[in-house]
Symmetry: C2
Subunit: 211 residues, 2 copies
Amino acid sequence: VQFWFDFASTYSYPAAWRVEALARRQGVPVEWKAVLLGPIFQAQGWNASPFNLFPMQGRSMWRDLERICADLERPFRRPSQFPRPRVLAARVAGRFAAEPWLPDFVRAVFWANVAEDRDIARPVVLEHGLGALNLPGAAWLQEAQSPAGKARLRTQTEQAMAPGIFGAPTFVVGAAWFWGNDRLEPALARAVHHGGGRDVLGVQAHRFAAP
Amino acid sequence: VQFWFDFASTYSYPAAWRVEALARRQGVPVEWKAVLLGPIFQAQGWNASPFNLFPMQGRSMWRDLERICADLERPFRRPSQFPRPRVLAARVAGRFAAEPWLPDFVRAVFWANVAEDRDIARPVVLEHGLGALNLPGAAWLQEAQSPAGKARLRTQTEQAMAPGIFGAPTFVVGAAWFWGNDRLEPALARAVHHGGGRDVLGVQAHRFAAP
């Protein structure tokens, strides 16, 4: 299963915690795919998060997310800034997508943003997150911001738009995609029943990077 | 639990089938509340269904609904017209909200629209649905379109907007509301734990009409 997420996507937070454990239980490898929803929203005519454009949906989402996190016993504090700029974090996640520490880094960034209300746009916050994983934070941030690192995230966002991904989290299994944290279970069920096929981007499933 | 639904709301279709059985199992009475989303969408600046305004969300919804209906083993055929005019059906549901046959009528209308792709705007379709329940279809339709019947639905739609209901299905339990077919379970859990309180409209829970 491909797990497409955006660090500013609120429902990507519980999904980032659920995906690995649930997928492992069913023997499904997870490919972590960072994406920036900004350009995708713009293509739909939205110049901001729909949760800000449509305040009733926004209020409903925050309440819903609070309930979901309570059920998962995950800490939740509504970020004082929403959405937070997250290009740098997304570039790290794009550049180092296949690294074994990547899932831990992704969760650390979500934790900083949502549980601790820290500004993940600040390089020092990400450097700290990488350092906590015993990684050379400053060097990896520099690498993520290299032309190759920037291009990688741009390509990944374009790849997301091709099959029609318009929000996060989205789970892709072969040619099927499932939008939303609460569609993780049907996505994994599909992966178990239809494993081994080619995904929407033409990549063999067995090439998925196992977490 | 109050079950707020719109006959043109796609996710209200599976919800209309699930709500009664699940609620009964947990001893929770259901109050069926028809609503017209049109004025509610307009208040948000939408002059049409968001599933038509935002085609990517629309495509995703139809696919998702097909999967949900397959899981529930409910027939599904994408209606050739969406959304269908449903003022008359909603007026019937509003006028006869407390009648014991109302849930069966609501499901019959959803069935006609979604499973059989019939035009529920046509009085004869609704008359047939009422007749199948051994009710005087023509007389009840006339009653639903009386000034009192029209006012009833208008009032009900205004009541929905007060606590911030912006979509359907929405489940209301006391002061809490839950948006979406897949939020029925948490809504019922809340009803079981917090039963007997006053709802958002100030109505005692024990006055809920049992199905």
